[in-house]
């Protein structure tokens, strides 16, 4: 019973981490309808950049994550521009190619990482990695608590941005009715570009959390396609609160299965959940369609 309790608590912490990792996708896929299957690949790339800074220059991983955030923002702006000009403009057939494009990009990133860093796992060092805290009979790794705190902060920050700031509301308006936004004199493409930039920038800190929580390897993006899309679809596309709730559900489900059935079933959980949600309630838990 205690084991189960520990699993649930760990699951909740892990879940919040999954929320931070998925929240960019909630914006890019949930709100902007970009079929961004390369999102996890960008995430892993960010975590390798964090590793590079941590290993080579002794920079704290979270700080490293913050440092690469502006770079990622600019990269996101450029990436959206390319995507928009090549695919979204050209109509229905382009949707197929858009998906194939991101798939190709994801693979390219994966291979480039392998060629530069090799296939072995990499991890970072920091003062909070390696220790655990005791809560009664439970031992919770400190790095999970750090990840939980940062992730929750990040999620709340982004959710607040989208609901309270002018730009954030513009983004949500564009997601709902692009034509109306255009009629109001704003440029929807610029707004979407900005949103994609933010969604990519968030991956800086998210990537840092990724490598803090566990070692990374180049093929990790495949597992995270399942996790991030599972969270975003379960949440109901574009709902930030939903992202947090869905992520926690996934985190708890994964840890419980892990504890009770062992690691060999773990990779399939997010994907199985995703298939289940698609089958039963494709509009997600909090979505409306």
């Amino acid at each position: 019973m205690d084991l189960l309790l520990e699993a649930v608590v760990t699951g909740v912490l892990l879940g919040c981490f999954y929320a931070a990792v998925s929240i960019g996708l909630s914006v890019s896929f949930g709100l902007l309808d970009v079929p961004h299957v390369a999102h996890p690949a960008f995430l892993v790339l960010a975590s390798y950049a964090v590793y590079f800074l941590n290993d080579g220059y002794d920079i704290d991983p979270l700080l490293a994550g913050l440092l690469i955030t502006p770079l990622l923002f600019v990269f996101g702006l450029a990436a959206y521009r390319l995507y928009y000009e090549t695919f979204e403009r050209r109509g229905s057939d382009a949707a197929v190619r858009g998906i194939a494009f991101f798939f190709g990009v994801a693979f390219i990133i994966e291979v480039l990482i392998i060629l530069h860093f090799g296939v072995d796992q990499r991890s970072v060092t920091a003062s909070y990695i390696g220790k655990s805290w005791r809560f009664g009979d439970m031992r919770i790794p400190l790095r999970l608590m750090v990840a939980f705190a940062v992730a929750t902060g990040l999620t709340v920050l982004l959710a607040t941005y989208l609901s309270r700031t002018f730009m954030g509301r513009a983004i949500r308006a564009v997601a709902q009715d692009e034509e109306a936004v255009r009629l109001m004199g704003a440029n929807p493409v610029r707004i979407k570009q900005w949103a994609f930039g933010i969604a990519t920038a968030v991956l800086g800190v998210a990537g840092a959390l990724l490598i803090i929580v566990a070692p990374v390897d180049p093929t990790l993006d495949r597992a995270y396609i399942g996790r991030t899309f599972c969270v975003v679809v379960m949440a109901g596309l574009g709902s930030m609160t939903g992202t947090l709730i869905a992520a926690i559900i996934l985190g708890v489900a994964e840890t419980i299965v892990l504890t009770m059935f062992g690691a060999s079933w773990a990779p399939a959980i997010s994907f199985a959940l995703l298939l289940g949600v698609l089958a039963v309630r494709p509009q997600g838990l909090l979505g409306r369609r």
Partner: protein
């Protein structure tokens, strides 16, 4: 004016149709009977629910628990392609041609799937499609790619493709929008010709002159509700209708 058909049985019957999207009510308690062979005009300001109504009739939107009756049959649960085979055809407000095909190929899709493709040969399908194009004045463009057509040609092709499904009811959704004066007359004459062949037509338009000339009856929607229905002159004289179009 044309003579009213002998049958009194409505071709299309909609009863108390209410359509909501989340908190937004697009159609509110709309009921209407359309007679066979009727020329029916549908007007209303933007956002009043005209296209939503068309989507409900053609099957793009679900309407449960309200029912849609067509030709004596309850078609509420039928998907769009089955309704098309039953005889309901529509054009789209912004034309949606099959871009990778030529004009005649666009029509052949319609002929293929609504005339028992297993019974007729490919040549017969092509002949039929060609005949329709001639009827609609597009024969010269039969082998042209859709992407090279002018606006009025696109609208005519949209109607031709709808006609290729051999409908009993044709719904024309703002086929004249954005066209020049003579182009409007072209499309209007085309629709009148089709009407004279006993096809029931629902015309949605903003060009009042055209609607007046065409319709035997007009229905005006506003914010999802019917605010007037009846003879064109009566509806146009209706104060609420005038307010809806000119007011605020």
């Amino acid at each position: 004016m044309s003579s009213a058909p002998a049958s009194e049985f409505p071709l299309l019957k909609i009863e108390a149709l209410t359509k909501r999207f989340g908190g937004f009510t697009a159609l509110d308690n709309v009921s209407v009977d359309i007679r066979p062979g009727e020329r029916f005009g549908l007007i209303g300001p933007n956002g009043s629910g005209k296209t939503t109504l068309i989507n409900c009739i053609s099957g793009a939107f679900r309407t449960e628990p309200s029912t849609v009756m067509f030709n004596g049959e309850d078609i509420t649960r039928l998907p769009p392609h089955v309704r098309t085979r039953r005889g309901i055809a529509r054009s789209f407000q912004i034309p949606r041609p099959f871009r990778s095909m030529t004009v005649i190929e666009n029509l052949m899709v319609a002929v293929d799937f609504t005339s028992g493709h297993l019974s007729l040969s490919a040549e017969d399908h092509r002949d039929r499609s060609m005949a329709i194009l001639q009827h609609m004045g597009l024969a010269a463009k039969a082998n042209a790619r859709v992407t090279g057509l002018s606006q009025v040609e696109l609208r005519k092709m949209e109607l031709a493709r709808a006609m290729a499904t051999r409908p009993k009811l044709l719904i024309s959704d703002e086929a004249m929008a954005g066209l020049s004066g003579s182009e409007v007359d072209e499309v209007l004459d085309l629709l009148l010709k089709l009407a004279s062949e006993s096809i029931t037509i629902i015309m949605i338009e903003h060009i009042m002159q055209a609607v007046m000339r065409f319709s035997e009856r007009i229905m005006c929607l506003e914010a999802g509700r019917i605010i007037a229905i009846g003879k064109p002159s009566d509806v146009m004289a209706n104060a609420r209708v005038q307010e809806a179009y000119l007011g605020t």
